[in-house]
């Protein structure tokens, strides 16, 4: 068992604070991007309305040259009959396929650059914590939160390489900041050895997959919330009412959000299935039974069932769109409960949170 290095542990905590600070600036930049885009488009709208009131749709389509992309991204025609559908919609500028458009969004670029800087500092924090403790950095709630926030932001940045999900920036960074602050304020634990129950290679396998799946669920949670907002806004616009959520212009339409979050949720669901199975195998090794309805097991099962319901809902008439998004949100709420309440309030075998 390698010795504990306290100095590295202190550096780690410093890095975590710096990362949270950088994320906060990046968060502001992302928010600025949403506000600025909204204003720019409003100005263009006003101009367009003044010059030729009748050709508004054409202007909207040509405005960024991006809306075209949405037209052929839908797949089978049957999908367009959904309540939340209509791939191109008036009042939206983001492409349905979430590919990068030609226009330069300076605040968004600044925000992404800051996020990259933040994630590098964050990585340094996670690595120094691991080196300081001489083991994987997810042995207690503090480490689970700090590492989980790192993975969430890293996954977000990796997705950004292929898809323009910058509209998610405020949500993802907001959640990452909350996680880092909660870790430092409520769950702070100094660097230390693991109790015997956690000394197993299954800690590396079981928890790493749980962290990764949770990070993916975090992304889809943000997307499902946006999907609900966008769906509401699309209905409003379709009914000819005033657009009171104009910052949502840079967000793709509800159906595109639904499709992408479904794909990410499918990956996360497989990850969660592995989390559950590896957890059961570890439970057999540690406690002699692979399943015993311990509160943590119960909630892991509940999460699995809710997301299984989500996947089935997508294949059930009347359950797609808004209802599926709600299921995804409920699933994430269960993930949060599983992490917070189950570890701290409920009595069970998983109560070694390090608190």
């Amino acid at each position: 068992m390698p010795a504990i290095n306290e100095t590295l542990g202190q550096y780690s905590e410093l890095f975590m604070l710096l990362a949270a600070g950088t994320y906060t600036v990046a968060f502001i930049a992302f928010a600025w991007d949403l506000a600025k885009s909204s204003k720019t488009f409003q100005a263009v709208d006003l101009k367009a309305a003044a010059s030729s009131a009748g050709e508004k749709v054409t202007v909207a389509a040509g405005r960024v040259g991006a809306a075209l992309g949405g037209a052929d991204a839908g797949g089978p025609a049957g999908r367009a009959e959904r309540p939340t559908s209509s791939l191109t919609f008036e009042g939206g500028t983001a492409a349905g396929d979430m590919k990068y458009a030609a226009e330069r969004r300076v605040p968004a670029r600044i925000a992404v650059a800051l996020t990259v800087l933040g994630v590098l500092i964050h990585a340094a924090g996670v690595i120094t914590r691991a080196l300081g403790a001489g083991r994987v950095p997810w042995g207690n709630m503090y480490e689970f939160l700090t590492t989980g926030a790192f993975v969430a932001v890293a996954v977000f940045l990796v997705t950004l390489i292929r898809r323009d999900l910058r509209f998610l920036g405020t949500f993802v960074l907001g959640l990452a900041i909350i996680m880092l602050v909660a870790a430092s304020v409520s769950f702070w634990t100094p660097v230390g050895h693991l109790v015997p129950a956690l000394q197993s290679y299954w800690l590396i396998i079981h928890v790493s997959i749980a962290v990764l799946s949770s990070a993916l669920f975090t992304l889809t949670f943000a997307m499902s919330v946006l999907q609900l907002l966008q769906s509401y806004r699309q209905k409003n616009l379709a009914a000819g009412r005033k657009d009171n959520l104009s910052f949502m212009r840079v967000v793709p339409n509800a159906l595109s959000l639904e499709n992408l979050s479904y794909r990410i949720n499918a990956i996360a669901f497989i990850g969660w299935t592995f989390t559950l199975m590896f957890g059961a195998i570890w439970a057999e090794k540690a406690w002699g039974r692979f399943w015993g309805w311990d509160p943590k097991e119960v909630w892991t099962f509940v999460i699995w069932v809710v997301y299984a319901g989500y996947l089935h809902a997508r294949a059930t008439r009347g359950w797609t769109g808004t209802r599926a998004a709600w299921l995804s949100i409920v699933g994430y709420a269960c993930v949060i409960i599983n992490f917070t309440l189950v570890n701290t309030v409920f009595q069970g075998l998983h109560s070694y949170s390090g608190l």
Partner: protein, 573 residues
């Protein structure tokens, strides 16, 4: 899954009833009653119920019910996990404790309502999987569906024109396309190969539905495996002090939970002796001093009474396997060695006493019952502290988990312990109500405080007690679950099926060729996905590239589906 079936059934009696009702007043009542009771008959009702149960909507509802139903099991204490906590909970909450018990909220996972949910869910699952399996088997044996008239209506569509001087007629083009698609894993059928408009239908990705079926069937397998474990498995606990030996017979267990179909003859009489137990505690991390970092039990095992002895190590996360069971290290503590002499001067008790861990740093409770003491039976209740320290208020506590300053603090009693009546008692509790106190802080004699080697004489010549030393004990869980290997296999199968069903795409491709008036050979193709397939466009592009390479066409990007060329192709043919 059987959404389409539901729509078919519409009670004919309801419609005829309306017609008749308009004809005559007298018949109206009769017609109404007929309308209220659709003439489905018993069989029809069953069929209707079956259709409802196996519908996707019901399955989804049951799935969500399962999630909701599982939650109370984490909110309330559960009997299978710890029956004593449940009893205490009911005592502590007299207003609703009994009510919750009536709702089976302390046995959620074996309750009638939870069982109802999952049994209905699994019936629904079987009712859904079976017809799907049959339908898929038929689909796998049949040819791809006929070529649609207008391929341009398909979600992915494209055309290619082969120049007249290339010398590839329509019939050769279709066979070339068939070859390419076969290589790509499609099942292909060429139609009307020598006719004017040869075409082909191709399909791939049958594994998607197979994966889906394997996933759902494996879940049934997991459930059955769990049931097998419950029927034929058993589990138990045993506390072993250093030097003690556990023999796998019913009397060897402190606590034993047999499965429904358990037979004691299935216990193989292996043995395990605890030679030494070592616990290591953290002495370097700030703020975590005294936290355990290693438990190691040195044991000697024998597969059968006659087998050679084998030295093994038992650790947390590292069980020992013996005679079809696994033995787990689940607890540990200190066992002070005590000798009690009675009023007549005879040794009436000698040996280790299990000190039950109650608080930080092995602050443990001790109960000693001496029924053999004469003339009066003796009882002791108190605490064991491995590192005894005293606060400024005079309260003793344990300052460290190691044996730095071990100390026994006891009160003593005499009288009838109640053990002779045959009523079972908890060995960790002593009912002092009917006993007379000898030593206590409130009495003149005071409490007994012992350090190793010390002896204290009891007042009134009732005897003496000696603290001989301290041994360590471990708690061992013994489990035998014949279902768990099958559960693992089915679990792995389920994941394999799940990944297959999510990442294999079922696609259909149709290709039609024809000869244009100017001599060119025109090729059009269309793709259709069954279910969600976000990579269908990618497949269309890949196919286009394959075709272009096969026929030496310049690589042209996919033209939008509504160009003049494509529309003319379909019309000219």
């Amino acid at each position: 899954m059987s959404e389409s079936v539901k729509a078919k059934k519409k009670s004919p009696s309801a419609e005829s009833a309306t017609a008749e009702g308009a004809a005559g007043e007298g018949k109206l009542q009769q017609a109404k009653s007929e309308a209220a009771l659709p003439a489905l008959g018993f069989k029809g009702m069953l069929r209707w119920a079956w259709t409802q149960l196996t519908s996707m909507r019901t399955a989804l509802f049951l799935l969500l019910m399962l999630a909701v139903g599982a939650v109370p099991g984490s909110l309330f204490p559960q009997r299978p996990a710890n029956p004593a906590v449940v009893t205490q909970y009911i005592k502590d909450n007299p207003s609703y404790g009994q009510f919750l018990d009536a709702l089976q909220l302390y046995d959620v996972y074996s309750s009638a309502w939870f069982s109802a949910i999952y049994i209905l869910l699994f019936i629904s699952l079987i009712g859904c999987v079976t017809p799907r399996a049959i339908a898929h088997y038929k689909a796998m044996k049949s040819q791809p569906p006929r070529t649609p008239k207008r391929l341009s209506r398909l979600p992915e569509y494209g055309t290619l024109a082969l120049p007249a001087d290339a010398g590839i007629p329509a019939s050769k083009a279709i066979n070339d396309a068939a070859g390419l698609l076969k290589k790509r894993g499609y099942r292909v059928e060429v139609r009307n190969a020598d006719g004017d408009l040869p075409s082909l239908g191709a399909e791939r990705g049958f594994l998607k539905e197979v994966g889906n079926l394997v996933f759902h069937t494996s879940l049934i397998g997991v459930l059955v495996s769990v049931a097998i474990g419950g029927l034929f498995g058993y589990s138990g606990q045993r506390i072993l002090v250093e030097g003690d030996t556990f023999v796998n017979t019913l009397v060897g267990y402190d606590q034993f939970t047999p499965g429904t179909n358990f037979q004691s003859s299935s216990l193989q009489p292996y043995s395990m002796q605890l030679d030494k137990f070592n616990a290591k505690f953290d002495r370097e991390s700030p703020g975590k001093a005294g936290q355990p970092i290693d438990y190691t039990a040195e044991v000697t095992t024998k597969e059968t009474p006659d087998s050679p002895a084998k030295k093994e190590t038992l650790k947390v996360n590292d069980p020992v396997s013996l005679g079809g069971t696994s033995l787990y290290l689940t607890g540990n503590g200190y066992a002070p060695m005590v000798t009690v002499r009675d009023g007549e001067g005879n040794v009436s008790f000698q040996g280790p006493v299990i000190a039950k861990v109650q608080g930080d740093n092995y602050y443990s409770s001790v109960v000693i019952k001496v029924p053999d003491a004469k003339p009066e039976q003796l009882g002791f209740v108190g605490f064991f502290l491995p590192t005894a320290l005293v606060t400024s208020d005079g309260i003793s506590f344990s300052g460290a988990p190691e044996l730095v300053n071990p100390q026994l603090s006891l009160n003593s009693f005499y009288g009838d312990l109640g053990l002779d009546k045959g009523v079972p008692q908890n060995v960790f509790e002593l009912d002092v109500e009917k006993l007379k106190p000898l030593n206590s802080r409130n009495l003149a004699a005071g409490g007994i405080t012992l350090t190793p080697g010390a002896t204290v004489n009891l007042p009134e010549g009732k005897g003496s007690i000696t603290f001989d030393g301290v041994k360590k004990y471990i708690g061992v869980d013994i489990h035998h679950n014949p279902g768990q290997l099958y559960a693992l296999i089915f679990g792995l199968l389920a994941v394999a099926g799940l990944m297959t069903s999510l990442y294999v795409n079922r696609r259909r491709v149709w290709v039609r060729t024809g000869t244009h008036a100017d001599g060119r050979t025109m090729v059009e193709y269309g793709l259709l996905a069954r279910g969600e397939d976000h990579r269908l466009a990618g497949e269309a592009a890949a196919l286009r590239e394959l075709f272009a390479r096969e026929w030496n066409l310049p690589e042209t990007p996919q033209a939008p589906p509504t160009t003049a060329v494509s529309s003319s192709t379909s019309k000219d043919q």
